[in-house]
């Protein structure tokens, strides 16, 4: 068996097409996605404070304190506040020194010079501020009419000073909850599933009647079990290494996939094993042409990816409501869910359940393939007669 593995590795490494594309797929896809969603990961975007001008007026102190007090997770302020007179603020906006001007009248408003995301953030924050200010005013009016002055003071104090905290937001995850990470999980899932094509091709050389090489391999004195398992193992390693290379590449370019490398390796290993086993099984189907096998590989991979929201969104949730069993056995769903279990939920029970399901399906598929291959005789030879 070591003999076959040794030469399967040599063949795989020297087969440039398969080798290079297996490695290029996750890296290229990650690069394209990074270019598409790159700003999400761009520290300049996240960290840099938005310069705003607060016009001099009755609310200037409140607004300045409110905006200056809004801080990011890392402690940096969201806004860089400058108090300017009306003319100075106008010039600063014209020159692009500030993204917006906030008027300091009885009810503040926002003047923006464009429609980019920074200005949208300023508008959103000030709108929120004004809404809260109105609510506080309404409560004050209500309590005054009922003659409960004590309550009024408390509310005024709460509005002006530190509010009393009733709810604490607590993250269930150590890791990032960026929704765009789902697209990068999808790369691994699709990479694992697309390995079915290479594996199906690999099995074809063991099918009697396909080529003269398959004929020679079929009359040799080595069992099909050893040959299939050896070839599978090598191809699995190629896919696994390629996917892990993709993972480290993603980390290198700044995608938030930090954390437990072993857990990620476990998902990729189980996914790659499933993909290769599925390909071996498809390749072992007798009496159908190579073209049909490739069609089955591509079609099933696309369907499974679609059902698991790897191509679009909303399908998986619909399936969860109607036929949840599909999500429990769909390999694409299992792979992407496994990433969620380690990055979002930290649910290792679910993580291991997903991995065991994938490995179990791989073992069953491989066993069926070996059973077919070891008993298979061609009905029609593709060899020249």
């Amino acid at each position: 068996m070591l003999h076959i593995i040794k030469y399967a590795i040599k063949t795989a490494v020297k087969n440039r097409n398969t080798f290079i594309w297996t490695f290029i797929f996750p890296i290229a896809l990650a690069t394209f996605m990074y270019l598409a969603f790159g700003n999400i990961y761009n520290e300049e975007f996240v960290m840099k404070s938005i310069p705003v001008a607060v016009e001099e007026g009755e609310m200037q102190e409140v607004l300045s304190e409110f905006l200056g007090g809004l801080a990011q997770d890392n402690g940096d302020p969201y806004f860089e506040v400058r108090i300017l007179d009306k003319e100075g603020a106008g010039k600063a906006l014209e020159n692009g020194e500030v993204s917006a001007i906030i008027t300091s009248g009885a009810e503040p408003s926002v003047i923006v010079g464009g429609e980019d995301f920074k200005q949208e953030i300023v508008v959103s924050v000030i709108n929120s501020f004004v809404r809260n200010m109105r609510k506080a005013g309404a409560i004050r009016l209500m309590t005054v009419s009922e003659g409960t002055d004590e309550m009024q003071v408390v509310l005024m104090d709460e509005t002006a000073a530190e509010p009393e905290v009733f709810f604490v937001e607590k993250s269930l995850s150590k890791g990032p909850q960026n929704i765009y990470n789902n697209f990068f999980y999808a790369i691994f899932a699709m990479g694992c599933l697309f390995s079915t094509m290479g594996a199906a091709n690999l099995t074809s050389k063991l099918m009697p009647g396909r080529t003269s090489l398959s004929g020679r391999l079929n009359v040799c004195g080595t069992s099909k079990f050893k040959m299939v398992v050896s070839e599978m193992l090598v191809y699995f390693l190629v896919v696994f290494i390629a996917q892990m290379a993709g993972y480290f590449y993603m980390r290198l370019i700044g995608i938030e996939l930090t954390g437990d490398v072993l857990a990620v390796a476990g998902i990729i290993a189980a996914g790659a094993l499933y993909g290769v086993a599925k390909g071996v099984l498809i390749g072992a189907i007798p009496k159908i042409s190579e073209g049909i096998k490739v069609g089955i590989c591509v079609g099933s991979t696309m369907l499974l990816s679609f059902l698991a929201d790897l191509c679009t969104t909303g399908i998986k949730a619909g399936i969860e409501r109607t036929v949840p069993i599909v999500n429990r056995i769909s390999p694409a769903a299992l792979i992407s869910d496994s990433f969620m279990t380690i990055y979002v939920y930290e649910d290792y029970g679910k993580y291991f359940q997903n991995l065991l399901t994938l490995v179990g399906m791989a073992v069953v598929g491989t066993s069926i393939a070996i059973f077919i291959l070891s008993r298979c005789r061609a009905g029609k030879m593709m060899l020249k007669t």
Partner: protein, 312 residues
């Protein structure tokens, strides 16, 4: 008598086409057995059925006394195959290819290295060990194909048209090599539609047509099946009807034709037939030219049995 292969009443259909029609064949151990027939006669189908690569509809096949099955790896270890199409890995070097296929039969590393060295020497690829198949000429590629099929020293070797599209020098090397393998004790099954090759190296020959065995025997035995044993042709313009009557009466002549100045004499047996014809013409002082004596070939045998040429 020990038989390497016994095929009995073998039937194989490809939908409407009857590829093997109750085909019978026995091959003795230690002989080169030739399967001769035109393209589509069923030669490769027979081999693929014997090798358990192809399902067959009826009949029985025994190899070294055992019915061969796809999972009978012990029996398969005694078999080597050289297919018509080159069956090697493009990514591996000459030595690696031979070592890979040999390793599917021989586990012992030391023994395997010895076998691989011997196979490389046997086919004369010593100077090309590190070459990949893509860098080899057609003839060298065929030699590599053979080395991959025989490196593990099988007792039974199938050669399926190994000389197709091979240059004359490589063809001779291949044919000499096959005889050496037989001399070393292997049983060879050799299929070809080149009757000269089959006649040259095979101990016994089976002629196939339309999935049936039409004749079996040594080359001489097969030729003896034909009525014609020699045909003499010569060109002359001076023959009279009287001369033709005399020649028709020469020993063993069973037919004669004289058209456009070409005389043809057909003999059913005999020796020195040509001398008698030449002596007669000299006695009569008749000028002649372009004299040919042709003994029957396996193609003539095939033609006489089936009514068509081997290469039709």
């Amino acid at each position: 008598m020990e038989y390497a292969i016994e095929v009995s009443k073998l039937v194989k259909r490809y939908k409407e086409l009857l590829a093997l029609d109750h085909f019978d064949m026995t091959i003795r151990e230690g002989e080169i057995f030739g399967l001769l027939g035109p393209n589509g006669s069923g030669k490769t189908t027979t081999i693929n059925c014997i090798l358990s690569l192809l399902k067959y509809d009826k009949g029985q096949i025994r190899v070294f006394g055992r019915e061969i099955k796809p999972s009978d790896y012990e029996l398969k270890k005694q078999i080597g195959v050289v297919f018509q199409e080159v069956a090697v890995f493009d990514e591996l070097s000459v030595r690696d290819n031979i070592d890979y296929f040999c390793g599917l039969y021989v586990d012992d590393k030391v023994l395997r290295k010895q076998y691989v060295d011997e196979a490389i020497k046997f086919v004369g690829l010593e100077n090309y060990e590190k070459f990949v198949p893509g860098k080899l000429s057609g003839g060298l590629l065929r030699r590599l194909n053979i080395a991959c099929g025989i490196a593990h020293k099988p007792k039974l070797i199938f050669f399926d048209e190994p000389t197709v599209a091979v240059d004359p020098q490589s063809r001779n090397n291949i044919l000499e090599g096959i005889v050496k393998l037989r001399d070393a004790g292997a049983t060879i099954v050799y299929t070809s539609h080149y009757m000269e090759e089959v006649e040259q190296i095979c101990d016994r020959i089976l002629i196939m047509d339309k999935g049936k065995a039409v004749a079996t025997g040594t080359a001489e035995e097969l030729k003896n099946m034909t009525k014609n044993r020699e045909t003499i042709t010569l060109e002359t313009d001076a023959l009279t009807d009287a001369d033709l009557e005399v020649m028709k009466g020469l020993p063993h002549v069973y037919d004669i034709s004289y058209e456009n100045g070409v005389l043809s004499l057909y003999y059913s047996a005999g020796r020195n037939n040509l001398v008698r014809v030449v002596n007669y013409l000299q006695e009569k002082d008749i000028a002649f030219t372009n004299v040919h004596s042709k003994v029957p070939t396996l193609n003539d045998v095939f033609l006489e049995i089936t009514g068509k040429e081997l290469r039709d």
